[in-house]
C-alpha cells in the first residue's frame, strides 16, 4: 500500500529512520566501550514505528515514550548533541545530566519523556490527551509502549479512560515479541495485543511494524480519528529489536534463535524503504548514501559535543526538585 503518501513524506520518514539507526549504533558502541554509564535500551529494528507515527505530529502533539526511548525522541526531532550529552551525564544534555537514557525528553518538541517504568507512559499520555481536549487545542497525544507493558494495570486504566472520555490519544503498541527475555507467548495468552481494544470500546488495528509506509497509513488514520474527536485507537505494530534487551549484547542470554533474528533482519525497515525509494525513482542510491553520511557526521559531532561538555556542578544536585 503506497497510496496517498507524498515523496516528501517518504524521504522524511527515511531520514528519521536513518537518524535513529545511526544514533543507536553509535550509542551502543559507546556503551560497550564503557563511555556512557547506566542502562541503554536500543531501538534498532523498530525505526519504522516511531518514524511512521511521528511524521503525522506537530511539536504541540504530545508523545510519551518508554525505557527504549531514543528512537521516539529522534523521530520527533531530537538533537543528537543534547542526546549524547545526556547519555554522558553532562550538564548540556537534555535533562542536564539528571535523567539519562531512561528519562530523555524534549518538552519543546512535545516529547514528554522516556520512562523507566514499564507502563508509565499511557496514563500520562491519556492526561495529555485530556488536557488537549480540555483546552480545546487540536493536539493529539501518542503513547508508545511494548507488548510487555500491555500487561500492566496502568495501560488498562489509561485505555479505558481514554475511550470513555473520547480523548485524542493513540496507543501505539510496539510488539517486538519480548518483554526483556520473556517471549510474548510466556507473558500473555493472546497473539495480538490489538485484541484488547474492543474491551475498551476503541478500534484495534494491526500493522506490519517493519514497513514504514504501512505504519504511516495506519497511524495517519488513528491520528486523524483522534484529531476529529472520535477518540483513541490501539495501533499494534509487529516489530523486532535487533540487539539485546539492554545494550548491544545484554546479559548474553540465549532466549531467541539466530534464525529468528535473521528472519526479521531480512525484513529490515530501512532496507525496505530504500529499495522502495529507488525502485519508484523517488531517490537514488547516491542520495540515500548521503543521508547516511551526513547523519553519521552529525553523530560524530554530537559525540564530540558531549565529550567536550562539562559534568554538572555539585550545586546542580539540589536544583530542579521544585519549581
Amino acid at each position: 500500500m503506497t497510496a496517498d503518501i507524498s515523496n516528501k513524506t517518504l524521504i522524511d520518514m527515511h531520514r528519521r529512520m536513518v537518524r535513529i539507526r545511526l544514533f543507536e549504533e553509535a550509542a551502543g558502541k559507546l556503551m560497550e566501550d564503557g563511555k556512557v554509564p547506566g542502562a541503554l535500551h536500543l531501538y534498532v529494528g523498530q525505526e519504522a514505528v516511531a518514524s511512521g507515527v511521528m511524521v503525522h505530529l506537530t511539536n504541540k502533539d504530545q508523545v510519551t515514550s518508554t525505557h527504549r526511548g531514543h528512537g521516539h525522541l529522534i523521530a520527533k526531532g531530537g538533537q543528537f548533541d543534547k542526546m549524547f550529552a545526556e547519555l554522558y551525564g553532562k550538564s548540556t544534555g537534555y535533562c542536564k545530566g539528571k535523567g539519562g537514557s531512561m528519562h530523555i525528553c524534549d518538552l519543546e518538541l512535545g516529547m514528554l519523556g522516556a520512562n523507566g517504568i514499564v507502563g508509565g507512559g499511557p496514563p500520562i499520555a491519556m492526561g495529555a490527551g485530556f488536557s488537549a481536549k480540555f483546552r480545546k487545542t487540536n493536539d493529539v497525544a501518542v503513547t508508545f509502549f511494548g507488548d510487555g507493558a500491555s500487561n500492566e494495570g496502568a495501560f488498562h486504566e489509561a485505555a479505558n479512560m481514554a475511550a470513555l472520555f473520547k480523548l485524542p490519544v493513540v496507543f501505539v503498541c510496539e510488539n517486538n515479541g519480548y518483554g526483556e527475555y520473556t517471549a510474548q507467548s510466556n507473558h500473555q495468552a493472546i497473539v495480538d495485543v490489538a485484541d484488547r481494544a474492543p474491551g475498551y470500546g476503541m478500534p484495534g488495528v494491526i500493522v506490519d511494524g517493519m514497513d514504514a509506509i504501512a505504519v504511516y497509513e495506519a497511524a495517519g488514520e488513528a491520528v486523524a480519528r483522534a484529531r476529529a474527536g472520535q477518540g483513541p485507537t490501539l495501533l499494534e505494530c509487529k516489530t523486532y529489536r535487533y540487539y539485546d534487551h539492554v545494550g548491544v549484547r545484554g546479559m548474553g542470554l540465549k532466549y531467541r534463535s539466530d534464525e529468528e533474528v535473521a528472519l526479521w533482519q531480512e525484513r529490515d525497515c530501512i532496507d525496505r524503504i530504500e529499495a522502495h525509494l529507488i525502485e519508484q525513482g523517488i531517490s537514488t542510491q547516491r542520495k540515500l548514501e548521503n543521508v547516511h553520511k551526513s547523519t553519521l557526521k552529525e553523530v560524530h559531532e554530537g559525540i564530540a559535543f558531549a565529550e567536550a561538555s562539562p559534568m554538572p556542578e555539585p550545586s546542580a544536585l539540589l536544583e530542579d526538585v521544585y519549581a
Binding site: 542536564k96 499520555a125 483546552r135 486504566e157
Partner: protein, 334 residues
C-alpha cells in the same frame, strides 16, 4: 495577609464546606483548572465536599472518573505537564497503594528527571484518618510515605480556615501538592473568610502559646492536643501547641524556637508511631535543640497494628487527649 482577611469575617463554616469554597475559588480563579476523581461530580464526592460545583461550573470542569486511581493520577500528571492545573481527588488516602507509582515515580520526579523542563501545577486532595469504624483499608494516615518523596509538597489542614486557604495555596503553587484531609473533621466548625486567601505552605502555626511545654500535633490530633493542653495547664504545665500545617516542607524553625523556650516537647500524630512523620520531627528537634532539651522528645502515635474495626478497639487505637496527657506525665515524671 491571611490573618488580615480573617479579621474581616465572623462567618463560621464546617470543614467540609471550607473545602468546597477553597476548590470553588480555585475554579473561579484559574481557567485551566478542573476537578477529576471518583464520584466528585454527580455525588460531589462521598463526603460531599464538592457539592454544588458541578451545577456551578458544569461538566467541563468537574469530571467523574472510572475507579482507576493510577489512571486518575496519571491524568493529573499528564494534564498538569501540558498546560492544565488539575485538582485530582483520591477518595481515601489508603488508595495511595493503587497509584503510588504515578505519585512517587512520575509526579514527584518528572521535573527533576527532566532537568527542570517540566512543571506540574497539580493539586491532589485525599482523605485520611481513623475513627469511623471503616477498618484497616479505609482509615490510614500514610503521610510518611509521601513526605519521604522529594518533589512533592504535603499539607494537612486542621481547621476550616486552613482547609480553604491551603487548598488555594496548593492550587496556586507550581508544584504537585498533596492536601491531606481528615474525615472526622468534616463537621468541625470554624471561621472562614469569604473570597480567596492563602495559608502559606511551609509555615507552622502556633495555635496556643505556652511557656514550658510544647506539643507539635498534626491533623486531627491538633484538637486532641489542645484539649490535652488545657488539662496539662491545670497540672502547671503551660503548654504551647504547634500545628505544622505543612509537612513537606516542614517548618523546623518554628518548632525549634518553641522548644528552645519550653525545653520539653511531644510530637503527636494519628499515623502508626513507628516510622511516622513524628520520627522525623523528633530527630530534627534533638538535632537542632539538643542542648535545650530537658527530656527526650516524646512521640504519640498509633500502636503497631492495622486500624481495627470494632469501636472498642479503634477508640483505644487512635491517640486522644487522654493518651497525650498520660504520655506527657510519663515523659515529665509527673
Amino acid at each position: 495577609m491571611a490573618e488580615a482577611i480573617a479579621d474581616n469575617s465572623e462567618r463560621e463554616l464546617p470543614y467540609v464546606r471550607a473545602i468546597t469554597e477553597g476548590v470553588r475559588e480555585v475554579l473561579l480563579e484559574q481557567d485551566n483548572s478542573f476537578v477529576a476523581g471518583e464520584d466528585v461530580a454527580g455525588a460531589g464526592s462521598v463526603y460531599g465536599y464538592y457539592a454544588g460545583l458541578l451545577d456551578e461550573f458544569g461538566p467541563e470542569r468537574i469530571y467523574d472518573t472510572p475507579i482507576s486511581e493510577e489512571g486518575i493520577v496519571g491524568l493529573g500528571v499528564g494534564a498538569s505537564a501540558t498546560g492544565c492545573r488539575p485538582i485530582i481527588d483520591l477518595m481515601f488516602m489508603d488508595f495511595l497503594g493503587e497509584c503510588m507509582d504515578e505519585v512517587a515515580n512520575q509526579m514527584a520526579k518528572m521535573r527533576y528527571m527532566f532537568g527542570g523542563a517540566a512543571t506540574l501545577p497539580l493539586t491532589m486532595l485525599t482523605m485520611s484518618g481513623a475513627g469511623a469504624s471503616l477498618a484497616a483499608q479505609h482509615s490510614q494516615s500514610l503521610e510518611a510515605w509521601i513526605c519521604h518523596l522529594p518533589g512533592l509538597k504535603v499539607v494537612q489542614p486542621t481547621t476550616p480556615y486552613d482547609a480553604k486557604g491551603m487548598i488555594i495555596a496548593a492550587a496556586r503553587d507550581d508544584n504537585p501538592v498533596i492536601v491531606v484531609l481528615n474525615k472526622m473533621s468534616l463537621g468541625l466548625m470554624g471561621p472562614v473568610p469569604e473570597g480567596p486567601y492563602e495559608i502559606p505552605i511551609g509555615k507552622a502555626n502556633v495555635v496556643r502559646p505556652g511557656t514550658n511545654y510544647t506539643i507539635v500535633a498534626t491533623g486531627r490530633m491538633l484538637h486532641e492536643a489542645l484539649k490535652a493542653a488545657t488539662q496539662l495547664t491545670e497540672l502547671g504545665i503551660d503548654t504551647e501547641v504547634i500545628d505544622p500545617r505543612s509537612l513537606q516542607p516542614f517548618d523546623t524553625a518554628t518548632v525549634v524556637e518553641s522548644v528552645k523556650k519550653t525545653h520539653r516537647v511531644m510530637v503527636v500524630h494519628e499515623a502508626v508511631r513507628f516510622g511516622g512523620i513524628g520520627a522525623e520531627i523528633a530527630a530534627q528537634i534533638q538535632e537542632d535543640a539538643f542542648d535545650y532539651l530537658d527530656a527526650p522528645v516524646a512521640r504519640v502515635g498509633a500502636p503497631f497494628s492495622p486500624v481495627p474495626y470494632s469501636p472498642a478497639l479503634e477508640s483505644i487505637y487512635v491517640p486522644s487527649a487522654k493518651s497525650i496527657v498520660a504520655e506527657a506525665k510519663k515523659q515529665l515524671g509527673l
